[in-house]
């Protein structure tokens, strides 16, 4: 089954998003910040979609996205940012890092699940 990696320092969001995705048939791995996200991605080749917050301790989500494309040389995993941030500067940086899309919190699962499934199943 395709894996989705949910990266957020908030346990509330990890629970909310993770539970929703599991209920909709997706397999979920979670990480608590960008550094943990990179480690989880390195360890599991089945991850096809990363859903990540931007503002996190240790390593933010945009830096993690840049490292996924750069250091990990992983150009295939789909990355979606799920964040309170909504500034053009942030989004431009995300686009440059090859992220696929942007969602401003709060999470509304029904609005995105169809696309998430497509992205997770490659």
């Amino acid at each position: 089954m395709a894996q989705v990696l949910v990266v957020d320092d908030s346990a509330t969001v990890r629970n909310e998003v993770g539970d929703f995705l599991k209920k909709n048939g997706l397999d979920v791995v979670t990480a608590v910040d960008g550094r943990d996200g990179l480690d989880k991605l390195k360890a599991d080749a089945r991850i096809k979609l990363v859903v990540s917050d931007v503002n996190m301790p240790n390593m933010d989500g945009l830096t993690m996205a840049e490292k996924i494309r750069g250091e990990l040389r992983n150009s295939t995993v789909n990355i979606i940012m799920l964040t309170t941030e909504n500034t053009p500067i942030m989004k431009e940086r995300g686009k440059a890092a090859g992220i696929k899309g942007w969602i401003v919190k709060p999470f509304k699962g029904e609005a995105v699940i169809a696309t998430f499934k497509k992205l997770a199943e490659g």
Binding site: S10, K95, W102, I103, V104, P106
Partner: protein, 322 residues
Amino acid sequence: MQEAAQLVSKVLVLNDDAEVRGHIKAFCDAHHLIPVKPQAGAALTVLKSNVDLGAIFMQETYTGEGGNALELARAIHAIRPELPIFLRREAASHLDDLPDLYRGIFTAAYTTSTIDELAPLIDKNIFSFQYPNALVRGITEITKNTLETQFKGVEVRTEAPYMVRDRIIYGELFTLIPLESTWCRGYMMLQTEEGPLIKYVEDGRTHISRDPANFRDINHVMGEVTNLIWGAFKNRFISNEPVDWRQSQVPLIVNHEHRYISFGSEDPQLCFRYTLVDPNGEATPLVLYQRFVFNLSWAPEKFKENEVLTEDLFESGELELF
């Protein structure tokens, strides 16, 4: 500056003279003050439970605590020095003849006939900051919407925002997050009680369901509520203009014994109170206090709401594909 919001403030009235009550009430009504009158003997209890006062109006011959009013004022000042105390006297509307021990406790004195002379002092001590109406209204909207997404099966009730001088921390849990912009620099603080929030988690009313729940679970809930409000605040009210990060900072001081937090400024704070109520009456109401403390910089004349470009019209929760 845009139109300023008309704010109110709660004042504790220690008065047992029925003839004067009407004068004080009329003055409060005219100056956007909400009088709070304690039961006899309960002034200090009220001070322990009310964390959102703007000032105290006290009668020099007040007998409600069964003792010397000036000594009561001294006791109040010892525990709540940030609250201005206005002393009503029978003849003199000054403090000159009070013993040194008491004189410094009071902000000003007045008589029934000179109460209106307090107006400028009320403005100076409580309503010294003007807040744009769009900001005050927007904060309420953002916060109410956030609470509705983070708590299930509750109705979020709001009260008219008000000014406080209290520095007392409500409940056991509070969060702080900085707000930095070209028109404001300071903090947003959320405060609540641990007990009801733990019960909300255990009852499955949050996105973390755990039974039994512990303090870490509710930390996560409040953390995300704070994060969501902060994000929405930034998106709506903080422009992309760069802020000079080399600007000054001051230490925040928390005294756990006295449940007291200082931001280094004596200015009054903008306060909102939200109550989460279960329409079926099954859950204990959960009260959240939200304060905005612009202790580092406040320039409301530069305030403006961010314009939303048509191409950016993605609702929160919608996926914007690149």
